[in-house]
């Protein structure tokens, strides 16, 4: 059916899609870490909440693209609620405790997902024009996965614009490098931390609803995505967005190609890669804290 060219196209597109999803989840995690030094273990669960909310919205007849806007906002609201209740008091505590707190948050969110949506896998039914496949260079490739690439590109573009051009964006970037200075400029750091957590949650929600139709929506999707996003942000450099872009592409391609050629040991390769990079570049490819 597919010639050798077709296979290469298949794998490359698959890798791009996987890298894109990793990127958006990792960016969300990095925004929260870069700004308020909080490693949110519950980030995977927020990603799952995004997928499930998208499923419910589409199931009640909403158009997929409308859900693409509303679901992240809902997840952002959930993020805001979490930030105000349990993350804010942790501001002055050492990172080990925030790790364990968000670990408990992960348990709580996974349990709630199972309680609200049950155990069975769910599927998001796509609008008609996104279903089916089109042939590119000799292989049938699903239309939706191509559309995902454009959606991801649009989101990244939007985020870059938001960070570089808008006033809030500049404040966020400034406070990632020298938090003390920003607070001296009369900006209430509480809003900055709150904004960072909400923005991170929104990104997790977006990643969830995009990945919904691509992968399985079941209660365990959060946990698995969390470990992959850890691998990405550590290799890219904690808190650095550009590092996350490079790392997401690297991991996306390595994992997909490994899955294709040496199926069994794909994940072992990814972990060895992470270990090597961390061993000789402890700060990751692009180093820490540079928030552009």
């Amino acid at each position: 059916m597919g010639g050798s060219l077709g296979i290469i196209v298949d794998i490359t597109l698959n890798s791009l899609v996987l890298s894109g999803v990793f990127l958006i989840v990792a960016i969300g995690l990095n925004i929260i870490y870069g700004l308020s030094r909080i490693m949110n273990m519950g980030h995977g669960a927020l990603y799952a909440v995004g997928a499930y909310t998208g499923y419910t919205l589409v199931a009640t007849g909403l158009n997929y693209f409308a859900a693409l806007i509303i679901a992240p906002i809902i997840v952002g609201a959930v993020g805001l609620l979490i930030e105000r209740t349990i993350i804010a008091p942790m501001r002055k505590r050492s990172m080990v405790y925030t790790l364990i707190l968000t670990y408990g948050l992960m348990f709580f969110l996974d349990g709630m997902i199972k309680y609200v949506w049950g155990n069975k896998p769910c599927f998001i039914d796509l609008p008609a024009f996104l279903q089916g496949t089109i042939s590119i260079l000799g292989t049938q490739y699903p239309v939706f996965r191509l559309a995902t690439l454009f959606i991801i590109a649009a989101i990244m573009g939007g985020l870059m614009l938001f960070l570089n051009k808008t006033r809030i964006g500049i404040i966020l970037r400034a406070s990632s490098t020298i938090p003390e200075m920003v607070s001296c400029l009369g900006i209430n750091m509480n809003y900055v931390h709150m904004g960072a957590f909400v923005l991170g949650s929104v990104m997790a929600g977006v990643a969830g609803i995009i990945a919904g139709p691509l992968t399985t929506i079941d209660p365990l999707m959060g946990g698995e995505m969390l470990i992959s996003s850890f691998v990405v942000i550590v290799i890219g450099g904690l808190g650095s967005l550009r590092g996350a872009v490079i790392a997401a592409l690297l991991i996306g391609f390595v994992q997909t190609f490994a899955e294709f050629f040496i199926t069994d040991l794909a994940m072992v390769i990814v972990y060895i890669l992470m270990a090597i990079i961390l061993a000789f570049m402890p700060r990751g490819i692009l180093g820490e804290g540079k928030f552009e």
Binding site: R37, M39, I86, P89, M90, R93, S94, M95, V96, Y97, L99, I100, L101, Y103, G104, L105, M106, F107, F108, L109, D110, G111, M112, K114, Y115, I227, F230, V231, V234, L238, D264, L265, M267, V268, Y271, I272, M274, A275, L278, A279, F280, P282, R283, G284
Partner: protein, 331 residues
């Protein structure tokens, strides 16, 4: 006046009261299996002691050297597999040789990993432990021929415990394994307590407090961090040997990221920087997880709430120092 050999802030040896409490505690634990005789509680306490030893070994790493490890249970797993394989394939009776091989093998694995780990610090160190841990987990899962994959190790015999010739009993009998674990864990506890209060322990604490300053005082930080890591891994491998003898079974799920984070919570529940706090934390965590998961299908919700509650309202854990990890905030 204070002669020049006392060190302020450290009381000489133990107060008599403290010694009394320790003796009473050990006596109570020692007689428990004969008093209650209910096999469930005997095996539950054995499991608590083994995980307590593992939590203590993680506390040596986190509470005393200031290095956070996400998957310290991987080294318990490696040692358990090696002891199991030794007993199955090489000789089903020589228990001490099997445990010895398990500990040595785990140390040989932990050394290169430690050498790579100490080159990083803070959160990168923690996430690197996650990477290595997941690697061991995947290798054990994939290597069906030797480790039995996700079925776990099969055909584990129950060797007798014999010391200098006379036989103390079979590891299959829960009371024997309970007492064996109690003795080994007590020895490890006092040994570790001794090491922590030794000059070597002082160096570890200095590294935890301020790594930069430590190197500027003439401490080879990487070497001592590596020695601290090896001490923690050796203690974990002893716990691994006890685990396989007690449970007769080891599988990849004991070495998973989920279980790793559980051990971390045991240390934090008990409170950092206090060795016996780790045992309190382990006992509480196992009881909470066991009790909550029988309460309802949705036990994850309640476990999550309990953890959040404990971290928010009980910052220093039940026993230990807790808050001194400021160094981590720079991260």
């Amino acid at each position: 006046m204070n002669n020049t050999t006392t060190i302020p802030g450290i009381q000489k040896g133990y107060y008599p009261l403290k010694i009394l409490i320790i003796i009473l505690l050990l006596l109570g634990l020692g007689l428990f299996p004969f008093i209650s005789g209910n096999r469930f509680y005997i095996s539950l306490i054995t499991e608590m002691m083994i995980y307590g030893l593992l939590a203590m070994s993680l506390d040596v790493l986190l509470g005393y050297t200031g290095a956070l490890s996400f998957m310290h249970n991987a080294y318990l797993g490696i040692s358990a597999y090696v002891v199991g394989l030794f007993l199955i394939h090489i000789s089903p009776t020589s228990l001490w040789l099997a445990c010895f091989t398990g500990i040595i093998f785990t140390s040989l694995v932990a050394l290169p990993v430690g050498w790579v780990q100490v080159r990083t610090g803070g959160l990168a160190f923690a996430l690197l432990t996650l990477a290595f841990g997941m690697m061991f987990h995947t290798i054990v899962w994939k290597w069906y021929g030797v480790t039995g994959g996700d079925d776990g190790l099969m055909g584990m015999p129950n060797p007798d415990i014999s010391l200098f010739g006379w036989n103390l009993g079979n590891t299959g009998n829960p009371v024997t394994i309970y007492l064996f674990t109690l003795i080994i864990v007590t020895i490890c506890f006092f040994l570790t307590r001794r090491i922590i209060n030794s000059p070597f322990g002082a160096v570890l604490e200095a590294i935890r407090e301020n790594e930069d300053r430590a190197s500027f005082v003439g401490i080879n930080v990487r070497m001592y961090k590596l020695l601290g890591w090896m001490l923690a891994c050796i203690l974990a491998s002893i716990a691994g040997a006890l685990f396989i003898l007690y449970k007769g079974y080891i599988g990849p799920s004991t070495m998973s990221a989920f279980a790793g984070a559980g051990v971390l919570m045991m240390v934090l529940l008990g409170g950092l920087g206090s060795l016996w706090g780790a045992f309190v934390g382990a006992a509480m965590f196992i009881y909470i997880q066991d009790y909550i998961s029988t309460m309802s299908e949705h036990w994850e919700i309640y476990l999550g709430l309990v953890v959040i509650f404990l971290v928010l309202f009980l910052p220093t854990g039940f026993v230990g120092l807790g808050e001194h990890l400021k160094r981590f905030r720079k991260g």
